[in-house]
Subunit: 175 residues, 2 copies
């Protein structure tokens, strides 16, 4: 499927509400669960998405439009949320994510990107030359894969509890 | 994690709203997308969950309580939704799923299951003897894996569009 800004935006706009509906007021046994030591909980996923709003998605759009391929993007810190989320409740994180996403979509809309703009190129510190279209498509795919991660982490908490049904649920991981 | 009815119920109760928030009014390019011929779209996933409400989860609870291991459950038809969903809108499916889930949780609550009841055993036509606890845990894990399937199918529509970022997003599948 080709990237289209309106279709992609429709997904981006929903993600905070999807996570709020999935995780809001859910017992901690689900939201703090991980797949093992050092792995991410649904709580950590929300913190990671917040960090992306602050330093990655729209900031990099603006960086690309300003600098093209002359200055690489700043490197993204995948682990920043472990410190940034400390002491905060999931409720606070969900509200912060929703506010930042709303703000960032307004900034995106204000740019009035044209199809020609989507071909503009920037420089990723690891991946090299990328287009604005690829960057924006990644924003959407990234949202979806992290929602998928949150539900996978939750599902796997019952990997033992389902007993013999595990044979029918490969998503719960190997025994 | 051990299965607990109250914790599991908290997930079951949210699933219709999660799918409504994720998919409601989203362009068809997302909700009708699949990972290939014969694979399920998010639309098909909702139909499958409806069929589970009608023939699997609570009906099998009642069957188990009535028959124990003397009569196996009816076999579940994984493909029933292809015919059952034909001609219906996603909006109709989401509303039907929400209504059936609400009703089934009321039926479940009305049973007033005790911890001892959760140890009661039934007979699965393929898996053999299973406990009520395992059956209920599977209901929750099944919800979550299908929400995960819907977002994975959506994310993979941009497997090409993300360009070089695919290297960072293994969830989009191999090239």
């Amino acid at each position: 499927m080709e990237f289209r800004l309106d279709e992609g935006r429709a997904v981006l706009q929903r993600t905070p509400a999807v996570l709020h509906t999935l995780l809001g007021d859910l017992p901690d046994c689900w939201t703090a669960a991980t797949e093992g030591p050092g792995a991410w909980s649904p709580f950590d996923v929300v913190g990671h998405l917040i960090h992306g709003e602050r330093t990655d998605w729209v900031p990099r759009v603006e960086h690309l439009l300003r600098h093209g391929t002359t200055v690489p993007f700043d490197t993204f810190d995948r682990d920043a949320m472990f410190a940034a989320s400390r002491g905060l409740s999931l409720h606070e994180l969900l509200a912060t994510f929703a506010a930042l996403r709303r703000e960032n979509l307004q900034r995106l809309d204000a740019l009035g990107l044209t199809p020609a703009d989507l071909d503009r190129r920037g420089l990723h510190p690891q991946l090299g030359v990328v287009t604005l279209r690829q960057h924006l498509a990644t924003w959407i795919a990234h949202d979806l894969t992290h929602v998928g991660q949150a539900v996978r982490v939750m599902a796997r908490q019952y990997a033992q509890a389902v007993g013999p049904w595990r044979a029918f649920l490969p998503q719960l991981g190997k025994e």
